[in-house]
Each structure stands twice: as structure tokens, then as C-alpha cells.
Symmetry: D4
Subunit: 228 residues, 8 copies
């Protein structure tokens, strides 16, 4: 198992492992982004604490992703430039079946962050991209795949309508991830987040905007409970 | 033609004919709601100005709806208690084909206000209720009706997702009407309005929350242009 | 199984079964609340459609709760005056183990709505009330119960801090339910909702404000997947 | 006809054709903007799918606009540097008569995006710039042109007052496009959007901020219905 | 001169003279509204402090307006039931020329509060009602009156567009008063206030929503400066 | 010492003692307000847990305040109808010197809640009312009292300017309490709260809107630290 | 007299003369900022239309300010690098007496924009900087200057408290200008704007954030009315 | 004692000494950031006014921090590159005991600004970093340190939950400092600020987002009162 999500009640691990949270997008918001060396140091510390488990950093800039293989020569390194994720260490065997669905192609970055996190947590994940509600035909043609999944993560910006539609089509748990894709009233993702929270489809749950990592953490808990 | 929507460039008619706008819902917001007698007087004034055309009041309280037949003994009176609309005078012959669609049953009041306004403006309108995105099957089973309409008005509260879906299914112009149905982050209809404005379906246009009257005014302009 | 949450892809059931959604709190927001007779009619329709399953209405006024036994003489009637829920029909056998936790006593209404919905959906649920973060001792003294649950629903208004704390203490999936309890900047529950969505505890998911029903729907999906 | 707006019910086309949506303005908001090569590839794909129809990209950076002629040597290329639009392929014959009106000169970019989209969709469009409400004389001197149009698109930032005034002057359908022009309380265009949605002129409909493309899509549907 | 607006630098008078501020609309917002007896006592105190000047209370409930003549038997009493204003004492001679313009009839309450306050402050004021931008003809037909005024106060809810138009038509100072008239995105008057603040007409200034009193106070200062 | 504010680390007391929090103002927001009997029961429970300490309920309706003497016959009962506070039990001796300042008379309710809470916590408090910034003279005439206080609590609605001014005049710690007094953009107290948080006077701290109780809790901690 | 503020009722001048509005700060908001050459062209056009009057551009970048003397060799050029204003042409004789007051030194840019605009409009203006409410002594020591002014413009960011204080100290008309100076809840100036609009000082009027130009336009109208 | 916080009632010092407020974060918001030379000049002026006291600048860019030793050769210079603070002059002896706690490592910048300010004000401060609520164990293991402090400052972004938890664990005064760390709904720190203001822990007070300086100013006043 990965370091990332162990229970923390006894003084254990804290969210600082999301070392990338202040890279990239966070960099212009918070008072301080981490340097590449700080990210590498945090990953090394996570690796040292639990050598059996891979360590994950999200929202990494390109130089972190490119320099990781050199920095961790003895380790397996999994860098996803679309997602901005970096996993160091051997990935655990994957079980379960999570489908990560996106409304548009620009939501792919968040979907891939979700999938990369699930891989680190030992969960199998497939990505089904670009099936937004403006073209229902594409979505409905994949109904079989949607209904086969044990958990569905739906990533959508702009109107945020897709998770409500998907949650009406499947009986598995559905997690909505609003994204900051959009402009005007959609800017920042609040319109999508509000639409998902106000969904008329019962049982749809929501995480923070662009938080593919958090959706993966929740989905992994479900899969681990099912495949205990 | 009705008094309601004549061009106003030459000092003509102004929106005060929407006499009901401050009744009911408006009553707790604005500094002053109209009394029943004020509404009756405004309707009589509109009737006198153009005796050929019916006059319309929206958002009327029950005592206005119930008292209208007595107040206008010689006129045809069309009172819709669900919509809160009151039309006085003979309705013009209906032409065109507008479909007013609602996501839930509680959106019906706004949809009926839209349909009643269209009737006053000489446009034929049907209402298709309760086909929200949580149950796509119901919507898809009415695809033929949707595609037959010359203009579709989609009324939805909560997530506001239905107009985006409908706009992806038909080629006619689509008008979204967000409603104040909902609670929590949906309260007041802003979440639905934002979702519609941020729609990924090109060409969806939006009116104010609960504004079935305004959607009808726009739809009627389209129908009148088509059937000139 | 209950009528409430069946998959809806084939034209089936829609969210109108949440017949109570416009009672009480919704009544002052939306354009139209349902009358007691409308609620009874909807419940009867749900019962007729699937006589094996109980039917549920949430956010019912007292006269609906009090009149239900008379209206459904041959049926088991489960009315919870704190929650405002009404279930008609024999409840299915309960399985699984969901713990519904509240920060304060005034959050109890929402927690009880969640528990009543879970009962209708065939899931066992216990309520642990009044363990907010201002008195961590009470929460920590129940750590064993928290960690025994297969899914934890955490109901909190005001600061919305409790779900973040609980999600750091257990490894089961955690669902946060913000409530409208509070005043000033907390009014309406947006402060609590935002705090939960922005949680530093990975994997916490969130539903709409006061939406105990929605949290139950998600938790039931998890429990049904685990106990397939 | 163009690829851009075909009905999508049978699994067809989705909004990703708005390839430029993440270029420029979108670039700082969403998690990923498209590269020039991705935009060219998308356009080529649209062209290949329907060689009879021109393909359109909006919000393109200058290098895309400048490189298009080289990239599509056999095709007609229509690049508008003010609008940031790129149309590839022979434009269809134009019919109808849409007038695109702007309040200020800085709203011109959005108006030109609207006009360029209309051209791709086979609709004739003229632009009447800089007739904002601070100088009513300029607007009133063009009353004849305003009233001759079959549909009027009104583009305005800051106070967003112009569409309400225009909608009171003409009987054709009017679409308001709020823009992000302005500063202080106007920043981002929300003040203009709210003013338009709350218009006292019945029948005014609204699209997202800076969404000249969406206004064109709606206007084109109207024109196509009228000139069927 | 009235008690209401004397300079306060030397420990003088404070805004509590606006005794009605918590009656009516304010009653549901603040923690405590004043009782009729408290309002009468405050007026009496103001009268005693400066017997030469009339005292003014705004936003008074009907029982205060109706009971004033009995309560102040020796004084001239000016009660305006539309405005909710109560002035006690002989009004000073009026000078200057302020025009108070309203967009709709429901804005009249605020306009009358403004006019009543001006009367107490010794300023002549006329009200020109119901000349909103949806019917420019009515407004333009009164251009002479508009341009004759030494100061124009423009009262508008909903879109808040009228002050921008008026400020473009006259050279005298213009004060915009947003009102809470409206619904949906206009509710509460914030849309109107934002549109006025973001006006493209230079020199338009704005007061709080529904604050006819404040607009009068500013207009009176201007008139007193001009007619020194 | 009172029950109200004991440290809670060992499983102790939680904020439910603020039994009145859902009475009055809270009643229309949260899902459930406490009944008089529930408030009395909570007070009795607090009394039983620590018979030496008085117990406090805030935001009590009049029937609770009036019925307390009968309900707690053997106890000292301190009911403040302006503040809505009810203290049961002998008050501890008062030490220290806190000055509670208000901008307007309608802020008095919150100021009295603060003073009543301080009395229960064993702190001496005086109230200086109606010294808002519109009349600086009144404030400056009390400079000696302001500078003599060991802690100053400043209660202000509307513009929220007074705490910034006071914090510039004294060297003791200053706590700002925004109130919901006001209308228009001030409605609910957010404008006052934002102004206080953004203060240019260093060291001003802020509590929730209308939270006189919370300001008292902080002030009491300071006084107890000083007079240890 | 300057070109900038002529009445516009007869089809005349529109707000585009604020040529600098999209330079600098506006550049990152709107879809298009003006180039230096566009600004020069607009100024030349204004000069040509009325050679007697100076023309003004606000929010100019440094290269515009530096290049103006070369571009307009025969004209008097008044460039203020703090304000970012550029006036071309001989300034009219100054009359009247406006005092522009700032809370902090960083508000100076806006105050200087106001003063430069007043100079172009033929009004004498002095700037009194850095007299914010955190140090009342500095403000009170200039009471004589404050009370001598015929109109006072008060520029303040952060808490926005200074205009309320000043409006309580003088009897002349006071205009508040909120600025975007600040961080956190003050960011963008909305907190300051709201505080000013909600002021407890009667008669305070407000313009848009950072809109020194608009405040000057209003103040000039007052001065011109007084000195007719 | 330092120059920074002297009482200002007699015309003294104003907040402009926070010279760094417009550096860095403020630079993109306000109309004008200070240059290094302006900062040095302000510090020199503060030094000259009171040579016994150190002078402090916050939010300084690196070139200011690096150049200070050269610019003030005879003075002790304390530059903290994490905090962005620069103190010039001999620090006063430290007394008291303030604990500055942070939820995450990225909150450290604000915590260090707080600690550096306390040092300048003669107060001893320790920083306890990275004890957020997602890992309660780390926090609870430092309970002794928490309870030993005379005042606790809690710095937290994202959910802002930590101050509520800490305020429930200690009896000393607690000051919450929301930070802009986070993304999505947390962006800018408003979610954290709202959660802290709405805290269920009585007595928690709050300062502006990222305002470590302000929290230090308040804490120092408490410590100085205790150690008089």
C-alpha cells in the first residue's frame, strides 16, 4: 500500500505529502510554493518512512517530472506530464474497477491526476474522455462500460452537468469533480461545483475544484472496502 | 396581438404592465407590492388602450385570480392558479409550436407562466413536465416531440443541467429558465442560472430566475418572425 | 429494496419521489410547495409502482406525518418528527454499519433524515450526536465506534470542521453534510460547505447543505457494494 | 453548412470544436490550454469529418492565426486578429440579417467573434460599434438599422445597460452578451451579466460573459428558422 | 433648517435620527427594531433640541404615521404613507430644483422618501415616475424637465440602467439610487447597484440600496451650496 | 467560575450550552430551534454539572426570559430582555475593566449580550452606546474612558468603521463585533465584518456577526490572564 | 472647457474618451487593451473635435506618458506618472476648491487621477494624503482645510472607513472613492466599497473602485453649478 | 519598544509603516507597489523618529531583504526570507510566551511574519508547524506546549479547521489567521476565514487573510497587559 492515505489518528501522516499542491496552480495563490528540491526531499522522506509503498506528488512542474529519474535512480518512477503527477516506487497490484469520465478534453489533466493517484493506491482505473452532455450520443454509446464500473468519478467544468446525468444512469457510487475549465460565470469552477452539489440525482457526492487526488482517495476507500 | 410586447421606441408602453411582478414572490423583496385594486386598474387601463388585445398580469395572488371574472364581467378571463397568471380579453389565434419542458414538478408554476404568456401573445405552447436529467429515459422517450418544436423553453431549478442536455438534442433555438426551486447551494436559483450560462451546449440562452414571462416574450418574437 | 434509488436509465423513476423536498424549508424558496394531499398521492403512486418496497418522503410538515397512518391504513408507517421523514411500507432487513455523527444537537434533524433514509434503503445506521470539535474529548472517547463503521456520515454546521477531523481518524469512506445551522457568516451553511470541500483530509466528499437524504443515498450504494 | 452546430443526439459532435476556448483568456484558468498543433489537428479532424463545411476555432493566439495559411494550404483561411477567430474552408452563402451592436470600442473583440461565427454558419452580420448609453444620440441615429435587423446581438461590458435599451427599441429578438470589459465592481463582467438578466425589457436573453460564439449560435438558429 | 443634517464634528448629532431605519424592511435584519413609542420619543428629543427645525423619521410603520398627529398635537405633521416618512414641525421654505426620477412604479416608495427628506431640508423636489429604459420614448419626452433640474436623483431597481442613461442626457450632477425591486439575480438590489457603480457615464454617483434618504442628503448639500 | 467557558480537552463541555443560539435569529435559519423546555433542561443540566457556577443561555425568546424565575425558584435569575440573555445562578465577583462600545442604538442588543456574558464570566463591563463615526465628537469626548479600559469591545453594523477608529485611539486589545444592523449592501453584517477584517488599524481582531457572546469569551480570557 | 464631460444628448461624445481605461489595470481584464498609437489617435481626434479644450487619457502606461510630448509637439502636455494621466492642450483657468483626501500613501495614484481630471475640467484641487482613521490625530489637525473645501473627495482602500468619518466632519458634499489597495477580504476594493455605501454618515455618495476620474467628474459638476 | 504599534490618538503614526504591504502579494492588487528605495526611506524615517526602537517592514521582496545590511550599515538587521520581513535596529528583550501554530508547511510564511513581528514588539514566540487536523495525533502530542502558552496564534488555510480545534483545547486567548493557501473553493482564504469566524469554539477571534502581522499586534497587546 501507498504512504498516501494511511489512517492518521496516532500522530501519523499528514496532508503535506501532497507536495505538489502548491506547485503550478497553487503557486499564484498561496504565500509560498515548494521548490523542486523541497518536493524531492518530501518524497524521499515518504519513501524512507515506508519503503514498501510508492510516494506521490501532484501538481508538479515539468522540471520535477523530468528530474525525478535522476534523483531517484534505484526506484521505479512514474511521471505523467498531462496530470503533473509523480509517483516514486513500485506500484502495488491493481484491483477493482473505477471509471474516470470527463466532459471535455481540457478536463483530462484532472482525470489523469485521479487515475495516477488510484494507481498508487492499488486500484485499477480507466479514463473515458470527452463525453459531455452537449453530445449525449457519445455518452450513451458507452453505457455498458459505465454500468460495469464499481465506482465512477465524473470530471466536468463549465456547466458541471455531466455528473448529474451519469449518476442517473448507474447504480454504483458516483463522485463529481468540478474543474476550473471555463470562463465568464464558470471561471474558477464554482458554477460547476454548485451545480453538482445541487444535483437532482440522489447520492452524487462532490470534492473540491480540480481535486482529482481527493476523488481518487475516496474511490480507493470504496474499492478497498469492497475487495477486502 | 396582445398589449404586452409592442415596440416602445415612440414613448409607448413600459414593463409596468407586468403588474403581478411585485405580487407574491416580489412582495417580500421590493418596497411596495401592488394591491388587487391597483392590478385591476392597470389591466383595465391596458384594455382601454388597446381593446383588441388581451391584457396579462403575472404573479397574481389568489384573490386577484378569483375576483377577476366579477371585475371584468364583459371580458373573457383566463386565470391559471398554478401559474398565478391572469389574462383578460379574447386570446388571439395561436400559431407556431413552442415546447415548454420542466425538470421537476415544482418547476411547473414557471412553465405555466411561460405557456400562459405565449397564449396571450398568439403562440401555441405545450408543456412537457418532469423530464429531469436524473431520469434520462423519460426525456429520451419524448425526443420526437422535442425535435418537432420550433422553439424549446427549458425550465429547471437545482443543478440547472436539463437545458444543456436538451440544447444538445435539438437544432431549434433553446431558452433556459433557471428556477428558485432547491435548497442549500441551489437556494434562489443562482446555481442553476450559472450552470446554464456556462453551458457547453452552444447557443443556449438564458433569462432571469423564475422568469417564465421573459422566456415567452423571446420565444414569441422567434415564432412571429418565422410565421410572418 | 426501496423505490427510492433504483437506476433510472430506462425511463424509470425520477427525483420527484423526494416529495418532501419542497415542504418546510423549500416552501419559502421555490415557486410552489406540495400540499399534504399531493405528498400522499405521490407516496401512493410509488407504493403502487413497487408494492414490495417502502416509499419515502422527506421534509414533511407535521400534518403529513400525523395523517399518514390514517391515509395508509394497511401499511407500516414510519414517521420521524425530528427528521420530518415519512416512510410507508415494510422496511427491508438492515445490513452494513453506517455511523452518522453530528457536531451539535441542532444538526440532529439532518442526521435523522440520513438515518431514516438509510433504513428505507436497507442499511443499518447509528447516530452519534454532539461531538463537535470544540470538545475533542467527547469525539476521541468514541474512536472505537468511529473506526468500526463501514462508512461515516458527518453532519456539521457553523465552522464545518468536524468532517475534516473525522476523516483524519478513520480509514472508511467519509461523507460530509454541511448544515444551515449557524448565523452571521455561517448563515445558510455555505461556510461549512466550503470548509468541507477545502478539507486538508484526503478523500472527504461532500453533499448539498442539509442534504441528509443525499448522504444516505451515497452511503447505501457503498454498503450495497460491500455486502453484495 | 458548418460543422460547428449540427445536432448531436446521435453520438455526434461535441463542443470540443471550440478549440480556442482554452487559448488566451482560458489559458490562465483551466488546467490545460491547447497547443497550436492541437488546435490545427482538431480543425483538420473537423474538416475531414465534413469537407463541405468550414471549421472554426475561437480565441486563437496570434501564432495560430498566422500559421493557418501554411498549415491548410489548399483551403480558404479566414483569420480575424481582432476577434481571435480562425475559419478554415469555404464560407457558405450568407442569408438573413443580424446586427451586432457594441457599447464601447473595447467590446469589439467579442462582437467580431460573434460576426465571424455567424459567417461560418451562413448568416449575414453587420457590426455597429460604440453606441453605448452614455451617448444615446449615436444609438438613436441608427434606429432604422436597428429595426431592420431580423435579430440583434448587443455586446456590452461595465454597466451592461445597452441591451435593455435596445430591447425596448426593436421588436426582433435581442441577445445580450456581457463582456469582461471594466474594472472594480464590473471586473469580470458579472455586473453586466446580472443587469442584463434582471432587465426590465421583456424578452431579452443572455449568454455567458464574452461568449460572442454562443450568441452567434443562437442567432443563427433563429435566422435558419426564418429562412427555411 | 432641519435637525437632520447638521455637521457633527463637535460632538453633535448622530444618525440615530433615522429612527425608522429598523422599522419595516430593517425589522427582519437587525437585532432590534424600534417601537412606535421609541420613534416618537426620538422625534420629540430632536424637536426639543432644535424647536425651529422639523424632525424626520423614515421607514415608519403605519401605526406611527397614523398616530403622529395625536402624539404631536401642536406641531405640523407630514406623514407620507407611500414613503413611510414622518416629518414633525413646520417645513422650511423650499429652494432649488431637484428632479427625482423612477424607472418603475414600484420604485416610487424610495423616490417619495427622497422627496420628503428634501422637503424637510428646505429643497424643492418633483417626482417623475415610471420612465424606465424599456420605453425610452417616455423619458425622452421629458428631456426639458430633466435638463432644467439643478440635480437629478434617479431611482431604479432590476437592471439599474436608467441612471446611466440619464447621466448621459444632462449636465447637472446625477445621483443613482438602486432599489430592491426585482427578483432572481436582481433580488436585494445588488445587480442594480453594481450596474450603477460600473456606469459608463462619467460622474454618476451611487448611494446604498433603497436609500432615498441618503440621496436627498447629498442633493440638499449641492442645492445649499448653489443657493448660498 | 461559570460553566460556559471551561477548557474542553478532556471530553468536557461543548457549545450546546449556548442554548439560545437557535432561538430568535437562528430560528429561521437552522433546521430546528430549541423549545423553551429544552432550553430550561439544558440550563438545569449545566447547573447540576457545576452547582457553583451560573449557567447562561443567549438569544432567548421572551417566554423563556419571563418563565425562568418560576422554573428555577431557588436560584438567582438574571434576565436581560434587551440582550435576550438568561443567567441562572449567583454571579461571580467581577474583576477587570472591559468597555463595550456601540456605534448606534440598534447595536445595543449585541453589546448587552456581550456585557451579560462577561458578568457570568466574572468580568466587570460597562457599555458606552451610540458613539458612531458620523459624530466623532461624542466618541472623542469619552477618550479617557476608552483609554482606561483593559480591553475594548466595539460593536458596529452598517459601515463597520468604528472599531478601526477606536483601535487607533487606544493601546489595549480591541475586539470588533460586526452586527446585522443595516440594509442594502450592509444587510446581514458582511460589509461591516469585511471592513473590520480589512482594518488599517493593526491588532484589531474580529468575531462573527452579532456574536457578542464570542467577543465576551475572548475578552474574559484576556482579563483572567491579566488578573491571575 | 474640456472635451471630456460635455452633455451627450444630441448624439455627441461617448465614454471612449477615457482612452486609458483599458491600459494598465484594465489590460488583464478586458478582451483588448488599447495600443499607445490608438490612445494617441483618440486624443488627437478629441483635440481636433474641440481645439479649445484639453483632452485627457487616464491609466496610461509609461511609454504613452513619455512619448506624448513628441507626439503632440505644438500642444501643452501634462503627464502625471503617479496618476498615469495624460492631458493634452492648455488647461482652463481653475475655480472652486475641491479637497482630495487619501487614507494611505498607496491610495495616492487614484487621488492624483482625480486631481488631474479636475484640472482638465477647470477646477482647483488640493491633495491631502495619508490621514487614515488609524491615526485620527493627523486628520483632525487638518479640520480647517477640510471644512473650507466646497467638495471633498475621500479616497480609501482596505476598511474604507475614512469617508464615513470625513462626511461626519464637514457640511460640504463628500464623494467616497474605494480603492483596490488591500489584501485578503479587502482584495479588489469590494470591502471598502460596501463599507462606504453602508455608511452611517448621511449624504456620502460613492463611485466605482479606483475611479478617481468619475469622482472628479461629479465634483466638477458641483463646482460648476456653484460658480455658474 | 518598537515604532510599529504606538497609540496614534495624538496625530502620531499611521499604518504606512507596514511598508511591505504592497510588495509581493499586494503588488498585483493595488494601484502602486513601493520600490525598494521607498521602503528603505520609510524604514529610515521610522528609525529617525524613534532611534531606540527597531523598525519593521513586511512582505518585502528579496532585493530589499538582501540589500538592507548595506543600506543600514550601523544597525542590527533582521531579515527573514521565509517571512519576507525586515527589522532594522536592536530588538527589545523578549517577554511572555506566544505559540504560533500552523496547519501545513505552506502556512509557514505567515507564521514567521507573525513571529518576526512579535520579536520586534518585545514578545517571545515559538513556532509549531504542520499540526493540521488531518493528523490529530501530531497536535495532541504537543498538548503540553499548547497549554503552556499565554496566547496561541493559529495559522491555517484550506478548511481553516485547526483554530476551532485548538481553541477547544486551551484556556488562553486564541487568534485565528486564515491563509490564502489552497485552491478551488478555498482560493484566496475566504473559506478558511469564514470557518474561523463561524467557529463553534467560543472566544476564537480572527484577523484578515495572511495577516500574521495583525495577529502579532493583538497578541503583543495581550502579553504587554499581562506582564505590565
Amino acid at each position: 500500500m501507498a504512504s498516501v492515505l494511511e489512517p492518521v489518528g496516532s500522530g501519523g501522516q499528514h496532508p503535506a505529502h501532497r507536495t505538489g499542491a502548491e506547485c503550478g496552480i497553487g503557486q499564484s495563490r498561496g504565500p509560498a510554493a515548494k521548490t523542486p528540491e523541497q518536493i524531492f526531499a518530501l518524497l524521499a522522506e515518504l519513501r524512507a518512512r515506508d519503503p514498501e509503498a510508492p510516494a506521490l506528488a501532484t501538481r508538479c512542474p515539468a522540471d520535477v517530472l523530468d528530474g525525478a529519474a535522476t534523483r531517484f535512480p534505484g526506484d521505479a518512477v512514474h511521471a505523467d506530464h498531462v496530470a503533473g503527477t509523480l509517483a516514486v516506487g513500485t506500484l502495488p497490484p491493481a484491483r477493482g474497477n473505477v471509471l474516470v469520465v470527463t466532459a471535455g478534453t481540457t478536463d483530462l489533466k484532472v482525470a489523469r491526476e485521479c487515475a495516477a493517484t488510484l494507481a498508487v493506491l492499488g486500484v485499477r482505473a480507466d479514463v473515458l474522455a470527452d463525453v459531455g452532455v452537449a453530445g449525449l450520443g457519445r455518452l450513451l454509446s458507452r453505457l455498458e462500460d459505465l454500468r460495469a464500473a464499481e465506482c465512477v468519478v465524473v470530471v466536468a467544468g463549465m456547466d458541471g452537468a455531466l455528473p448529474s446525468v451519469v449518476a442517473g444512469l448507474v447504480s454504483a457510487p458516483v463522485v463529481g469533480v468540478p474543474t476550473s475549465v471555463g470562463y465568464g460565470v464558470a471561471a474558477g469552477g464554482l458554477a460547476a461545483a454548485a451545480s453538482m452539489l445541487a444535483s437532482c440525482s440522489p447520492g452524487l457526492v462532490v470534492v473540491n475544484i480540480d481535486n482529482g487526488f481527493g476523488a481518487a482517495a475516496h474511490a480507493a476507500k470504496i474499492i478497498h472496502a469492497v475487495h477486502r
